[in-house]
């Protein structure tokens, strides 16, 4: 897979708030019954992480499991591990009702970090990013400008933003433009 290129190939806009496309990143959609013991066991066994609570995520710094809907998780992991992970998940869940799909290439993933990152994100999404409301460990699916996006906040205060690959340039442009425009001065 030496030919593989992510949507924006690591494009970065550096400044007080830095926006960076994170390059090839493994992402797997997992659908199933969270209450089902077998499903939960398979997730924990293969990720080392628990199924997160509603709108939360679990991470060990390498793998991250995000709550996307009542029956859907997004697993983020190194790109090179995806195929093995999908195979292992299929093996672990064989015979039960579930769906696992590699969506690594269907998405673009960004890091947004810096002093007023919350305000930059608040310019394009109807989401309360104020620090006491949007705490580390939280996930929020919403939109960025006119397209769908998911946001989550890491312990260091930086955010991850995921969107569809085809609109990566639009999303990068919108967030980078909002960063360049400067802080609002309320958070």
């Amino acid at each position: 897979m030496s030919n593989a290129v992510s949507a924006l190939n690591g494009k970065t806009a550096t400044g007080p708030v830095t926006v960076q496309e994170l390059g090839l990143t493994g992402m797997v959609t997992l659908r199933g019954d969270f209450e089902d013991e077998g499903f939960a066991a398979a997730v924990t066994q293969l990720t080392g992480l628990q199924i997160p609570d509603v709108r939360q995520f679990q991470t060990d710094g390498v793998k991250t499991v995000l709550w996307m809907s009542p029956d859907e998780l997004l697993v983020v992991l190194p790109y090179t591990e995806v195929n093995a992970f999908v195979t292992a998940m299929n093996d672990a869940l064989a015979g039960s009702h579930y769906l696992v799909a590699n969506v690594s290439d269907a998405r673009a993933i960004f890091s947004v970090s810096g002093e007023f990152a919350t305000e930059v994100l608040g310019k394009n999404a109807p989401v309360d990013f104020e620090a006491s409301q949007f705490v580390a460990g939280m996930v929020r699916r919403s939109r960025v400008g006119q397209v769908a996006a998911a946001y989550w906040k890491l312990d260091d205060g930086s955010f991850r933003v995921v969107c569809f690959r085809s609109v990566a340039e639009y999303v990068f442009g919108l967030i980078a433009t909002s960063a360049t425009a400067g802080p609002v001065g309320v958070y």
Binding site: S69, P70, E72, R141, A148
Partner: protein, 109 residues
């Protein structure tokens, strides 16, 4: 701009994150049903000034469909509830009756 709480993920979503889906609790008519029954299913819709039960999808969120009881005139929201119900739940009905004591849903009226 409306604000509705998605009963699945708890998000207070604004209208731009939602997609409206028309009247709730429709019963599908199909092969074997009369023309009248099929017409009712396909075309006849409530268009009330007042309490309305309607479908919404948390389209820019968890993707789930949910139902809402809303006053189309005052925009008061009496409750939102999962789509996997065949009639408005008791707590929602209670909220509606607190405002409109005589209200009853057309299917149970």
């Amino acid at each position: 701009m409306l604000l509705l709480q998605c009963p699945y993920c708890g998000v207070n979503a604004e209208e731009t994150e939602l997609a409206a889906g028309g009247e709730a609790h429709l019963k599908r008519a199909t092969v074997g049903d009369s023309d009248e029954a099929f017409e009712g299913y396909l075309f006849m819709r409530e268009n009330k000034k007042g309490v309305h039960l309607e479908r919404w999808r948390h389209a820019y969120g968890c993707g789930k469909w949910f139902l809402a009881a809303r006053d189309t005139a005052t925009l008061e929201v009496f409750g939102t509830y999962p789509a996997q119900t065949t009639e408005p739940p008791a707590d929602v009905t209670e909220n509606i009756r607190a405002k409109y004591p005589d209200w009853s849903w057309k299917e149970t009226a």
